[in-house]
């Protein structure tokens, strides 16, 4: 418990204060992402953190148990993270099958590729999705671990 001598701010109120501060930067960040148009390659990491921050808001607002009850999908976070990593690794190392060097993308540099609007389809996208999944999974796990500290102490 943080109980600063004399001033008596309860821990939960501290957390709540910080929680109330948090939406601002995360919304700003999301906006920045959209405005800057990351669509070209997409940045999995940033997207992942944004989602994780949104989840963290739920944690802050309704507590760990509440959040995990509201979003049961969260309990798959470890699997999501590892799937993400495997996906990223697969996109990085699948060229080995063709005898190419790792982290070479298909279509290869310079070759034409399919586009969906601004979204370019090539294997790098897989890696980005992998990164995204991993970041979401990992950060949610982190929230889970730190968010439930009190229950752990009791047991």
């Amino acid at each position: 418990m943080v109980r600063r001598s004399g001033r008596g701010a309860a821990p939960d109120s501290v957390v709540r204060v910080v929680a109330r501060m948090l939406p601002a930067p995360s919304v700003m960040v999301a906006a920045a992402l959209i405005v800057k148009g990351y669509a070209e390659v997409g940045d999995g990491f940033a997207a992942g953190v944004i989602v994780a921050l949104a989840v963290s808001l739920t944690y802050v607002a309704v507590g760990a148990d509440g959040a995990e009850a509201v979003l049961p999908v969260l309990r798959h976070a470890p699997k999501i993270a590892v799937t993400g990593l495997l996906l990223a690794l697969a996109s990085g190392f699948f060229p080995l099958v063709y005898g190419e060097e790792p982290v070479s993308h298909q279509p290869a540099p310079g070759e034409p590729l399919t586009k969906f609007g601004k979204l370019e389809l090539f294997t790098q996208l897989l890696m980005d999705i992998g990164v995204f999944l991993l970041v979401v999974g990992v950060l949610v796990m982190l929230l889970h671990q730190f968010g439930r500290l009190r229950g752990e102490e009791k047991s």
């Binding site: 470890p78 699997k79 993270a81 590892v82 990593l85 495997l86 690794l89 190392f93 080995l96 005898g99 190419e100 060097e101 790792p102 982290v103 070479s104 993308h105 290869a108 540099p109």
Partner: protein, 461 residues
Amino acid sequence: MLLSIALLLPWVAGAVLLIANGRNRAVAWLAVSTLVATLVVLAFLAAEVYGNGNVRVVTGHWPEGIGIVLEADPLGVTFALLSVLVVTAAAAYESVGGVRTRTFPGLVVILAAGLNGLFVTADIFSFYVFFELAMTASYALSAYGGKRRQLRAALVFTAVNLLGSFIFVLSVAGAYRVTGTLAMEQIAERMLEVNPNAVLLIATGFFIAFSVKLGLFPFHFWLPTVYAGARPSVAAILSGAVANIGAYGLLRFGAGLFPQQLEQAGLALIILGAVSILYGGVLAVSRGDVAEMLAYSAIGQVGYVLVALGVAGPVGLVAAVLYSVVNSLNKALLFLASGVRGALVAGAFAIGSLSVAGVPPAAGFVGKLELFRTGILADSTALIVLLVAGSALSLVYMFQVYQRCFWRADPAKAKASPLPQRLIAAGLAVLVLAGALWPEPLLALSGQAVESLTSSSPGAS
């Protein structure tokens, strides 16, 4: 191909194992078999490297330096083989005894992946990330066991080594700033034209980072707490595999990237090494706790590597490589053996003790022989006296503990540990014996490793 597989195999398997329940025997043995498979792949890679020269991969099919250069050379594969071997032995040892934490197998396999990566990369930043991968895994591992001692060990280990890692990053940034590249080969070339002051400062940063990892005097304070606190298998991994990062780093960065600075700092290195030898040796004498004695012994033993590095020259570097290899095997063997009891283990511990003291028929003797050659080439009586004093000290501290724990105790009274655990220790001991009875592979290996190291450094051209 082999190189990529050596990297990928433990990486993928480790990722999956991380979220599996490692207390399940099947999971633990899956981890061990992954490690064994990695070892086999590495062995093939090593055969390739020793037979046909370096294996080189540039990621993404880009020109070198733009993509990350991975290069398996004799020095790298030697350390990779050695480290994965130690990790495998420790993992098998723990799997036999029953894994205590769910994440142990996954962490160990990922650690192997990180080590593999950093030993084969020829790019300093990718060295850093692999290094962090290995270190993060070992931070998590150091708390393995979860008791008070282990926790304290983990905290000390993590805090001190994190500091070391950040010092390393500062130097990486510096190296980029003054050379405009991250590929080791190009850095080595361009460093020659950079202001010596800046280069020496950067080199000092690298030196400090690796010394912290190795636990050289005076950066060693963390080491006894950690090695004595951690469980035997973890201590074996930390001292036999993770500490190799320090030795390898000193060799690769010192002799490979900063040969001139290495020469400049020769005397300083020798002095630091000498102090390490004496300090570690003397303090190991009155410890009482086997693991703590081994920890101080480790401080002393890495001193030899530093001394050899300080003397440099082909002989000095060969001695440094050889001694690092032998020392890593010794430490793995001794830490694993210290955790079990029984007839085979006593023998294994004795062989380890002889090896530490450099007495035939254990591999340490080949290392000592090379060190003496180094000392004589350096034409330094003081150095030779120091080496002898170090050997004498190690005989005293190893054998007093050996007698108390393994010779004096009646084996009938002490309950013998599971046979497979003892067999693992014995297997390592056989390896140490073989290294002395047929020293040629060790010598040739170290010779080639040094050749690959110096031929790539700008001083050679």
